[in-house]
Symmetry: C2
Subunit: 386 residues, 2 copies
Amino acid sequence: MNVAILGYGVVGSGVETIISEQLGDKEPIKVVKIWNRPNKTKQIPYFVSDIEEIINDPSIECVVEALNGIHPAYEHIMACLKKGKHVVSANKAVVAAFFEEFQQVAHDNQVYFKYEASVGGGIPWIKELKRAKRTDAISSISGILNGTSNYILSTMAKAHLSFSDVLLDAQELGYAEADPSADIDGFDILNKLIISSYVAFEARVKPDDFLRLSMRGVTLEDSQYFHNLGYELKYLGTANVENESLEGDVMLTACSKQSLEANTSLNYNCVSLVGETIGTLSFYGQGAGQLPTAHSMVQDLLDITNESHQIKLNSVKDISNKGLKTYQFVVRSQQSIPESFVKREDQGYCYLLPMSQLRFKEVVMPLLEETDLVVKMEELRGECGD
Amino acid sequence: MNVAILGYGVVGSGVETIISEQLGDKEPIKVVKIWNRPNKTKQIPYFVSDIEEIINDPSIECVVEALNGIHPAYEHIMACLKKGKHVVSANKAVVAAFFEEFQQVAHDNQVYFKYEASVGGGIPWIKELKRAKRTDAISSISGILNGTSNYILSTMAKAHLSFSDVLLDAQELGYAEADPSADIDGFDILNKLIISSYVAFEARVKPDDFLRLSMRGVTLEDSQYFHNLGYELKYLGTANVENESLEGDVMLTACSKQSLEANTSLNYNCVSLVGETIGTLSFYGQGAGQLPTAHSMVQDLLDITNESHQIKLNSVKDISNKGLKTYQFVVRSQQSIPESFVKREDQGYCYLLPMSQLRFKEVVMPLLEETDLVVKMEELRGECGD
């Protein structure tokens, strides 16, 4: 199978490396053209400057899309699918935004659109979610889905450094972008939850269905406070379906020290599904990085060369957040908080606010604006007598 | 696809339940006959008393083998394969003992022989090991592969109970067999490592290539001693390939509290591979139990109905243990131990013996006979200044 790669950054070059060095002649996969954005063209093998040379080349059967962001990734993916080429993408932003359109056009042209690397890096998450779904209704997906934010939190906890110091380090080391918003405000995790929800629930979910709270406000003191209580702060994404309602959120969460999530460090991801007969199934591996991400893309390529059955189109239903989920939050405040809310005091510093009777669309959001830190407190609920 | 089930115990009946209740008419899989050992035949649907009614029924395309032990499982599997029926097995003892023969006969008859449920229960371990191997050389497989021994160790640690008390409880609850040897002497883990080694390393390995040490000697004091040092005792299986030598072992291991293994409780399994480009990839889920194990068998059935390419036969090479691996052990002893071995004392109770210069086939085994507890101490090595 002749393959073209769009984008020769970290991931794109990793795909080329694995195909040439790991597969060798074992598999009939060959990179024949590589396109990159202008002025990033030096020392690229198989380089073509004009994307049309790929789109209009009938000998190219599959295109690996390793660009960032929506444009021009969207246009190139669509053009390739319409020309009857399989597409493998690692680009969560464009996959989350145009999931259904890509599936439809791929189906119309009887080609594969695959996106394993867009969620969980090297973890075979999408593959296993699809497999589990063959027998099980999936009720929940959740986990650590962003390596950068996890690197920041685990380094804060281990090295006793402030959020801003670790973020600066991470930016200097290239682990975090100059504009870190996608990673630390939860947009990246949100995209991964949207993609996973399409697969797990066959559901069309919108960003507004998720309660997304930034992790920018977290302090070293917060990290240490929860550590001393037996918890580690992690930036989790969750999507549950219950009674036809999708309850989803992205937020700092206090995870019991005995949980897999609390013990997932640095750029590792840990993501779990709950199925009817399988119960909880968790996957742990490198959620980012050149070779792990490229590995997932090459696995998609191998699946395309090995699978021979018809491309099916799953129906997708609308499912919205009916606001049925109740939350408990910890709010750090110097101000006084009504006594009925306070469950725990610690040298005038931390307050536990159980809001189990409040639904976030009605009441919680305004309250949150007064706070610096928000933590989902399901784990601590028992301890506080609720 | 018409399916027959051999064995209507916990797992066999689970397979029937999932096919009838979860798949329904979605998938073309139908249970048509069930065979069970004599005098366990009441209230079995589709029951046939004569196995020949299955073997000689050309309308049955696939047989689910959910028996225990080598005989008559071996004979029935061989007969079905030779009649051109796919076979799905959950029986690690027979799969480990006759892996190559089953693969060969399946290949000769161009049918599938699948065995996902034989290792790791509901975890898609075999599937993902095969996938990772398409691009990566696998250097290591390891983890918690036996639910019963893990239930015993985690209950000892959590409830502060002795080994024998927990074992008795487990036997009463049906978690452990009347003769618990397979679980607590490591034979079950060994079978799973042998099967995994065939897949991961394409290697023919023999039980003698593994250092297998029973966990019978473990005491509550041992569990608490390591807990206080920041470790949890787990009964791990490991197989590594380095320089064409297989280094494998089954033994109690002190796992850092921050490891996934230390946080794997009760009947859960946690198993990891290390690949060239993917790095460490870990899988966590229920390693035993009716529905998780049956789930894996039904996933194998679905793969058979969906896969349509030729049955390939992988070559298997001989690979033996050259005894290159060195170990460190902790030996609990009331007797005096030469000073050069002792690295840590604790109220005259525990001694740490670094044996990093000793190779187990030469020196370690005789030494071990004097001891009650053996723990692999790689994790603690740094702490002891080695």
